[in-house]
């Protein structure tokens, strides 16, 4: 098979084609969709889901699932938000603005570690454990926050700035792309994606995750410490959800015990699966996942442009997931040529 053929037979090809076709379709009707400004809007819609998707992908590759990430996001964001609200009155000084970032990651890692230990120690199916901890962590978020929202004025300006400022902005009077910048949280999200790729593709433990997911019985026979890797995977997923938590505070400027992170797990799982990660473990790439996230971002950004009311957004999201499932399945079986048959 030619190199091109191999490329087209990859799982990522189908999703890439979907993104291109979708953008062309929207761009033909509303040319402003294909502008840099719109690209920035799309990118700003994705970082939370992308960070969460990296963790979820690892968990899925190891043949588990983590339904608690939305609650972990909410809990860790709430802990950081409370620190910011609390610090002046309690310590008499302001904690540095960045403390929330390591704190959220740490809190998320602890909660994820708890998930992993439950799954590993008691040999429980992850879907049930994380269903349980999802409701447990959400309840804890209400309890620690006393069901009160962290309002805008408590989140440090620098944290909020992460989603509006950038290290580099194209000067305003530059002939092309004047004033264009990519905000920090988008850079962070892509940084996480690159690190995840390096980890999964080029380290021993990363490869072991695939081995466990492909054949959980054979993995320990080949000397893989399944317990350690499993707990690690859940811990990473938790830590990334924690990072997504502080990014939520940055992006939206508030933390609410009931809204923050609610439904996040469904969005993330949808993106990951659209990106071609198999729910049966052992299969999935960072590139595919990133593309899956971007496709959801494109759809979300295109709807208001096309004049589709916000109330239809969820329905279209659902339809996109189903169509992506269909296309992914066809591509997996017959390569991209299989699409011809679908269209005919």
């Amino acid at each position: 098979m030619s190199a091109l053929g191999t490329l087209f037979r990859r799982r990522e090809a189908g999703i890439l084609v979907m993104i291109v076709l979708f953008c062309l379709f929207v761009g033909l009707q509303k040319p402003q969709f294909l502008t840099l400004n719109q690209l920035r809007i799309i990118l700003l819609l994705t970082p939370l889901i992308m960070i969460g998707a990296m963790g979820q992908m690892m968990v899925l590759v190891a043949r588990h699932v983590d339904l608690s990430i939305g609650s972990i996001l909410g809990f860790s964001a709430m802990v950081s938000g409370m620190l910011y609200r609390f610090d002046e009155t309690a310590f008499g000084f302001n904690v540095p603005w960045w403390t929330g970032i390591p704190l959220s990651v740490l809190v998320g890692a602890i909660l994820g570690f708890a998930n992993g230990m439950l799954v590993q120690l008691f040999r429980l199916p992850a879907i049930i454990v994380t269903l349980g901890t999802m409701s447990l962590y959400r309840g804890l978020t209400f309890i620690i926050s006393d069901a009160k929202q962290i309002d805008r004025q408590w989140i440090p300006t620098e944290i909020k700035g992460l989603s509006s400022t950038s290290i580099f902005t194209v000067p305003k009077d530059f002939p092309i792309a004047g004033g264009f910048n990519i905000p920090w949280i988008v850079m962070i999200a892509f940084g996480v994606a690159i690190l995840t790729h390096l980890f999964l593709a080029h380290t021993r433990i990363g490869r072991q995750i695939y081995a466990i997911g492909s054949n959980p019985v054979a993995a320990p026979l080949r000397g893989i410490n399944v317990a350690r890797v499993t707990v690690l995977v859940f811990t990473i997923s938790g830590a990334l959800s924690g990072l997504a938590g502080i990014m939520y505070a940055s992006r939206w400027g508030f933390v609410n015990p009931s809204n923050t992170g609610f439904g996040f797990e469904f969005q993330v799982i949808a993106a990951v699966v659209i990106g071609g990660v198999s729910i049966n473990g052992g299969v999935g790439t960072v590139l595919g996942t990133v593309l899956g996230v971007l496709l959801l971002g494109c759809v979300a950004a295109a709807l208001p442009l096309l004049g589709i009311p916000g109330t239809s957004q969820a329905a279209i999201y659902g339809a996109v997931i189903l169509v992506a499932l269909l296309i992914d399945r066809t591509v997996r079986q017959q390569g991209i040529v299989g699409l011809k048959r679908v269209r005919a």
Partner: protein
């Protein structure tokens, strides 16, 4: 109800392991842990507050959970067959919206109900097409359709709520022998489904599909047909539950039953149903529904923060499955 569970113990093996004592057989039944938790819940509740043991109060609070419980019964069968359906709560919302919108547009109510139920069937059929026809994993498919159905409900109803006529409101106020109608429906459906699952060939085939689908197909079981029937059934029942909710609340919004899929799965899991299929009973889910009601009303009576309920439910789920697994593996030696 499931006599075959007891029969499958190795008491008939040739090398004559001694017959397992009866208490052990009872102990490893999936719903035993639920029953124990239920008893503990009742005891704890009555210690917390003297008003707790008011049976009327418990029955009337059950009506708040009755719709989810009814769907959870069917969901149990779907899970035993090795599939899962996360879309019924969204299905409830969409069918209720279809029903409410049609009756507002002037269609007579009985006709609107029929159309609502049909839309539920259709949603079940769509799930079945993706899962059975295209062989896609049901958990992913139903995450997609749950978004789709909820979204369509939002398209129909917008952000407003649709009222239903006054005479249609109040299914939970209708009493039959002192028991609210939704609870009666739940109990009757539990008995019927329990008999079907435990006492018919069809029911036993569901267990076989969940235990090993390939083997079941080789044994001549039409697994696709049986799964199709289950998806259609859960679609229909979810639609009925949605319309019941409309009658209880008096108006329909797109967020009717939001988050209900997790409660339904929680009920099935608490009832000892094994998430990967092949194990579980209707009795377990029946008891688990009561357990949920006892726990949440007990906590309301004891003036505990509603959020604490979430924690307790999560912990309950994990503890009950750890205990069931532990007992099960002990007795398997």
């Amino acid at each position: 109800m499931t006599a075959a569970d007891a029969r499958s113990t190795p008491s008939t093996m040739r090398d004559a392991a001694p017959a397992r004592p009866r208490w052990q057989v009872l102990l490893i039944r999936p719903e035993t842990m639920t029953f124990i938790l239920l008893v503990l819940g009742v005891i704890a509740g009555s210690l917390l507050s003297p008003f707790f043991l008011d049976i009327e109060y418990i029955l009337s609070s059950f009506t708040l959970y009755a719709e989810f419980s009814i769907v959870a019964l069917v969901l149990t069968m779907v899970i035993i067959a090795g599939e899962i359906d996360l879309s019924p709560a969204a299905n409830m919302a969409l069918s209720a919206c279809v029903f409410a919108w049609l009756q507002q547009a002037g269609l007579p109510i009985p006709l609107a109900i029929v159309v609502g139920l049909c839309s539920g069937l259709l949603m079940g059929a769509l799930n079945a097409y993706f899962v059975i026809g295209l062989q896609l994993p049901s958990i992913i498919v139903t995450i997609g359709t749950l978004t789709l159905y909820r979204g369509l409900a939002q398209v129909i109803a917008g952000d407003k709520s649709i009222r239903v006529p006054d005479w249609f409101i109040g299914i939970d106020k209708i009493m039959i022998a002192g028991i609210p109608l939704p609870v009666v429906i739940f109990a009757i459906l539990a008995v019927i489904l329990g008999l079907v699952l435990g006492g018919t060939i069809y029911g036993r085939q569901i267990y076989q599909i969940g235990t090993n689908e390939v083997a079941a197909r080789h044994a001549g079981i039409r697994s696709a047909r049986i799964k199709l029937s289950l998806f259609l059934l859960i679609g229909l029942v979810a639609a009925a539950a949605g319309i019941m909710t409309a009658s209880r609340l008096g108006s329909v919004r797109y967020d009717l039953g939001l988050g209900g899929e997790l409660q339904m799965v929680l009920m099935a899991m608490l009832g000892g149903t094994y998430i990967f299929g092949g194990r579980g009973t209707i009795l377990g889910t029946f008891l688990a529904a009561w357990l949920l009601v006892i726990v949440s009303t007990g906590m309301i009576v004891a003036n505990v923060l509603p959020a604490t309920q979430l924690c307790v439910l999560g912990v309950l789920l994990i503890v009950s499955i750890i205990a069931t697994n532990f007992i099960y593996s002990r007795t398997q030696r």
